[in-house]
Symmetry: C2
Subunit: 302 residues, 2 copies
């Protein structure tokens, strides 16, 4: 999985930070988390193809997180996209999309499937699922987790040979399906493989106060992407405005036992990322501030 | 007057061109022509202050020309603008603005005065006026001209002295107001000044086919900003899509006797500006292709 930060500003863009959007590429799929104004251009600059298997996840219906959708849809129509586009977000997402499809009028060349979702597992397929949690912002706001399923354990050829399983398709069938018939014997995969290996987990939380639900959703994540609209000195203001500070983010990362924390949704007044992290790094050392176009590869850990 | 090209792409942005918007600064006033997605960020990068005396002119209600308005208004509210904002454009502009003020909901901190205008003089004050013309595009589309009034002629002190006008405030009163009483005599300004000097004229035309009305509006302009969505080889397609080519723009510039032609709204397939101008330059030599953040100072010519 490759995470690309397309826009890392809060509320208003700056010369160096575009409005919120994060792309995650996994195999032949593209997930887009939020779509602030200018996202379509950031996608072009980052050379991310708008492939067929595109899913967009909207955290909440505030302008800075959604105003890139109309232009993105118009450009995709201009380039004659035909594959369905899947869009997930809180109640109100459908109305917002309907509104901008009516004014200014334009014709979509592809179907949009909008799902206004609640918290829980909102999508699953063979290799991964998407889970959401309500977080604490001024309007209903979702955080999202991409959670891969466990992968089969490592296959040990010497064990398969010892059991007289002929080398070839039966080996991979055994590893993937868990058991095979060999003559009158049933052979289980745990006789020839190590324990199942863990999948990866990436969690995206946009605007929120620190809360129990994001802590739970973030548990054991490989990467937690979390907001830092205000610095530590402004924690009172952050709380009033339903936002977070770097140290609050670091505490969540520590308690949730994540492997890496990336701060985004950075307030326009902050130019020095290192200064923003001074205190937070003492709480949780594997912390960074996202910059536009920063890329992170999420590797398997076993 | 300083013209700044904020976005010079047609329809979709590219890595190097943002969506359409042109800023013109004149004294303490800012005029914005069109406001494609991303304009608010281009304004920040170009270091153009969003001063009180801001007027926005919208050529037509196509997404690539207006989708920057919602985010611009939200950011101006975030920065607590209170001065009224004046918005001019064709029928439908009011509905479009109303729509995006409702979804996603947000509160403006300043009043917006929307004027859906027809062709003719849509605004005038002491030093300049704004004139529009309907051009030929797929939906009602306006071109705009900033036309300065004539300035008083050059003042010749030796003539004033010869007429025994005391040096001081009477001199400037005579130049500005056209006549003064001196004892029982009336002195007219043409006794002490040269002929009135011309003002400047800047014309902005977005999407259009070549047409009589833009030719007329552009007459004797200091700068004509005009679209070139397609190259000369695609003139048939340009015509079908109600757009123009560089040579068509050059012909208009020549016939209208403008001083300088700047092409903008450049199709995404063109990377080499010089190549785009090969033929057009033979028709009208004072031609350039706009690039994002290009600035042009429009000087008085006499």
């Amino acid at each position: 999985m490759i995470i690309t930060f397309l826009g890392t500003a809060a509320s208003s863009p700056t010369a160096t930070r575009g409005l919120p959007s994060v792309a995650v590429r996994r195999k032949d799929q593209l997930f887009l988390f939020d779509c602030g104004e200018g996202t379509q251009r950031q996608i072009i600059i980052a050379r991310i193809g708008l492939i067929s298997e595109l899913k967009i996840f909207v955290s909440h219906i505030h302008g800075d997180h959604v105003l890139g959708l109309p232009g993105l849809f118009q450009s995709m129509s201009l380039f004659n996209r035909t594959a369905p586009l899947k869009l997930y977000g809180p109640t109100g997402l459908g109305d917002f999309v309907k509104t901008f499809l009516d004014s200014p009028k334009f014709s979509l060349t592809f179907p949009i499937e909008i799902r206004e979702v609640d918290e829980g597992i909102i999508y699953s397929e063979k290799e991964y699922l998407i889970k959401t949690a309500w977080v604490e912002h001024t309007i209903p706001t979702l955080a999202f987790a991409i959670i891969e399923n466990q992968r089969p354990g490592i296959f040990y050829p010497e064990r398969a040979e010892a059991l007289n399983i002929p080398k070839g398709p039966l080996w991979s069938k055994l590893q993937k399906e868990g058991k095979i018939n060999l003559g009158r014997k049933i052979i289980r995969s745990d006789q020839v493989t190590g324990p199942p290996r863990s999948g990866r987990k990436v969690v995206y939380s946009a605007d929120t106060r620190p809360c129990e639900s994001i802590l739970k959703l973030a548990e054991e994540a490989d990467v937690l992407i979390y907001e830092a609209t205000f610095d530590d000195k402004l924690s009172k203001k952050a709380n009033e405005m339903y936002h977070s500070t770097p140290s609050q983010a670091a505490k969540i990362a520590k308690e949730a036992n994540v492997k890496r924390l990336i701060l985004t949704h950075i307030g326009g007044r902050y130019f020095n990322s290192e200064k923003l992290l001074e205190k937070a790094r003492l709480i949780f050392p594997k912390i960074d501030v996202a910059e536009d176009f920063m890329e992170i590869e999420v590797l398997y850990t076993d």
